[in-house]
């Protein structure tokens, strides 16, 4: 493609443009449920990407010198790298200079609770339908399941709830900017240790310009008293979001972390390059669940989020466990491989994924299970659903190192096709350097059958209900891994994503 993809236009504040944006947004709302744009004062870093941009971001965050150095080193490295092209994705060239790398809601004062959050921000969350569980907790309903929300709004955490209660348990749950200032030793010890600065083009870019994100530390022997939950939302027009998440579970601890995402409608393609690093020490367990429904672009593939994410978990300690569960329905382009590095003896890695693509969406997603320790085990269950003219690729690596005795992997990749213009692809890589390993791989590809559709419709379901039911059944093995609050949302999301895809 000759024309470069614009990831940004100038953020003019003219009334005319605003009105036009409002008109356009209203038009688009008809097709995208979460397509609304809220009007909060922004502070932009100057357009483009150079060392000054990196210094600007670091200064905005009041970062210590070592952090700035770390960013600059990454930036210089990134300049020598090239965007990878091995994925089965057709991405127009991206002009990285034609974007804004930082936008933050203007801070009026330090907030103590969600009550003090800008009502407009809260109303955005209301439109997103933040689950009842949180609302109950916020309203102080006794016995309600506790979910702490660290709300990431356009790159900056504006409020953190339940910090006190978590503090009592010794759990640290902060925005990463705060953590860099308040717990520099802890952050410095682990930041970039799972996903090194030079890992890949997008991860390196993230190291240079990450604007905010989340830091979690669970101390030794502590079972985190609530589910931790972060709502990401890309709100500023034309700002890519570069989140950085670091979760460290110390010996014998447990944490379940939920990440949910929606983005408002955008015409321009928006760049998103997040990095998530997980560390599980001896006997620790981390469960990381994601529901992602960013704007996928319209039916012709215009607009939509470009999602280049590096997620990796390090099972460093013996008997540690990291489990990734993802339901991916959004984004125009998804490039994402949540992985586990199984160093500790008898450590366990799990990957459960549902990826839905419709219209012109492209997804190349899967996992890597790196077995280095003895007796390590991994499970991969991937369910790909393609509709419209979309392409959906599972790409997975299972690697067993020479010293990893008696390891086991089970992989199951199922693809479901709706219609005959979409594609499903399975690309498994298996590298085994130890003869005691047991590796199993099962793959199926099927079309949603006319028999099933007619049977369900003859019982009284309309076509969309029937498709939703069959698809949810297909994805059930993964859906049941989600925490309760998420499962219901995710089921609805599958149905919404596939509306109009049959018939």
């Amino acid at each position: 493609m000759s024309e470069q993809t614009k990831i940004a236009e100038a953020p003019e504040q003219g009334v005319e443009i605003k009105d036009k944006a409002a008109r356009d947004a209203a038009k688009r709302l008809e097709t995208y449920e979460f397509g609304f744009s809220s009007d909060i004062e922004q502070e932009f870093a100057p357009k483009g990407l150079n060392e000054d941009t990196v210094r600007f971001i670091s200064a905005k965050k009041n970062e210590p010198e070592w952090m700035l150095d770390w960013r600059l080193k990454a930036f210089r490295l990134w300049q020598t790298m090239e965007q990878p092209d091995w994925a089965k994705l057709d991405i127009p060239p991206i002009d990285y200079q034609d974007a804004y790398y930082y936008a933050a809601p203007k801070k009026k004062e330090t907030l103590k609770s969600l009550d003090e959050v800008d009502p407009e921000i809260l109303s955005v969350y209301n439109k997103l339908g933040i689950p009842i569980a949180e609302q109950e907790v916020l309203a102080g309903v006794e016995g309600a399941r506790k979910v702490a929300v660290d709300a990431v709004f356009d790159s900056v955490s504006v409020a953190t709830t339940f910090r006190e209660e978590l503090k009592k348990a010794g759990v640290i749950f902060l925005s990463i900017s705060e953590a860099i200032r308040e717990y520099p030793d802890l952050v410095r010890k682990w930041l970039g240790k799972v996903v090194p600065t030079r890992d890949n083009y997008f991860a390196t870019l993230n190291c240079a310009v990450f604007s905010d994100g989340t830091f979690v530390y669970i101390p030794e022997g502590v079972r985190c008293p609530m589910e931790l939950s972060t709502y990401f939302r890309i709100n500023a027009e034309n700002t890519g979001q570069f989140e950085r998440t670091l979760i460290v579970a110390d010996k014998g601890s447990y944490v379940s972390y939920l990440e949910g995402c929606t983005a408002p409608m955008r015409d321009e393609n928006q760049l998103h390059a997040a990095v998530v690093e997980l560390v599980a020490l001896e006997d620790a367990e981390i469960k990381y669940s994601t529901v992602q429904n960013w704007y996928p672009g319209d039916a012709d593939g215009k607009g939509g989020i470009y999602n280049f994410v590096t997620k990796r978990g390090l099972c460093q300690g013996d008997r540690s466990k990291i489990s990734w569960t993802q339901v991916e329905t959004g984004s125009a382009v998804t490039w994402k491989y949540p992985s586990c590095v199984l160093n500790g003896e008898n450590s366990v890695g799990e990957f459960y994924s549902v990826a839905v693509t419709n219209n012109r969406q492209q997804a190349d997603t899967g996992t890597k299970m790196i077995h280095n320790g003895k007796g390590t085990r991994s499970t991969i269950i991937s369910k790909g659903i393609s509709a419209g003219r979309s392409d959906n690729t599972y790409r997975g690596l299972v690697r067993v190192g020479p010293n990893a005795e008696n390891t086991r992997n089970f992989t199951q990749c199922d693809s479901l096709l709706l219609g005959d213009e979409c594609g499903a692809h399975t690309v498994p890589y298996i590298e085994v350097k130890n003869p005691t390993a047991q590796i199993e791989h099962e793959a199926t590809t099927s079309k949603i059958s006319d028999d099933q559709l007619f049977y369900a419709m003859q019982r009284g379901l309309d076509e969309e209900q029937a498709v939703a039911l069959i698809v949810n059944g297909f994805a059930k093995e993964v859906m049941k891994q989600l925490p309760m609050e998420f499962a219901v949302e995710a089921q609805k999301l599958l149905a919404i994503s596939l509306e109009g895809s049959v018939g």
Binding site: F454, Q458, G460, D462, K476
Partner: protein
């Protein structure tokens, strides 16, 4: 209740039904018998509204309404039910979930309140008992891993729960042993033998008719009803064969 006039239907351009006429009144049970390839299953699918079965001529009305103009789910909500010869498996979806969604969807389009989880389970338990199907079977995924006989009994439990006014049962007796045949026959009577309901039983054999006594028996051959009579016609077919009777 159901009126079929001069029905012509084809699949992939091949005409299967060639001018079929049939009228079923409330309170009646009709049996349709006929050799393989006569068009029995085609008739069932056309009444159910299966895509690919194209009606080229004729009409079907259900309680005066044009059945052929309705989508399959609208036909269900209107009170028709198709018992499948080969019930379909839906992996990952339990019978309970499937039927509750289906029933509530039907109720919604009729302007009725949805049935609560508790009320639904009560209803399901009652109908399962009627067909001697273990309730645990209904918690399993739709028809997945069911034996032939279990599928047919589950099919009748579905009918009991959805409570249609008119049912087309396509070879519901196939794959059943003697005991199951009796159970299914009694189930059909309990659910459908009512003054305001009617059934069209499609079958090859007389044996189901020992349990579900038809009021009218038709012989279908080459896409048309070629002979109509009382229950004795089924017995005659059984002893003399289709060729003699339908000739």
């Amino acid at each position: 209740m159901l009126k079929i006039e001069n029905l012509h239907a084809e699949i992939d351009g091949k005409e299967i039904l060639r001018g079929l006429n049939l009228e079923v009144n409330a309170g009646e049970i009709h049996a349709i018998m006929g050799p393989n390839g006569a068009g029995k299953s085609t008739l069932a699918y056309v009444l159910g509204g299966r895509p690919g079965y194209e009606v080229t001529q004729g009409s079907v009305t259900f309680n005066g309404e044009d059945l052929l103009a309705m989508e399959p789910h609208e036909r269900a909500a209107a009170g028709t039910f198709l018992g499948f010869q080969y019930p379909v498996e839906i992996p990952g979806v339990s019978n309970v979930q499937f039927l509750r969604e289906a029933l509530n969807s039907q109720r919604k389009s009729r302007g009725e309140e949805p049935l609560s989880g508790g009320d639904f389970l009560k209803l399901a338990r009652e109908k399962a008992a009627l067909l001697k199907l273990d309730m645990d079977m209904l918690k399993r995924n739709v028809n997945v891993g069911f034996s032939g006989g279990e599928k047919k009994r589950a099919e009748m439990v579905q009918m009991g729960i959805l409570d249609p006014k008119f049912a087309v049962l396509d070879e519901t007796d196939s794959g059943l042993d003697i005991d199951a045949l009796k159970t299914v026959g009694e189930g059909i009577n309990a659910i459908m033998r009512k003054p305001d309901k009617a059934v069209l039983l499609i079958t090859h054999y007389q044996r189901l008719l020992d349990y579900v006594k038809p009021d009218v028996v038709h012989v279908l051959a080459k896409g048309r009803i070629v002979k109509t009579g009382g229950p004795e016609l089924a017995l005659q077919l059984e002893s003399e064969g289709y060729e003699t009777v339908a000739a």
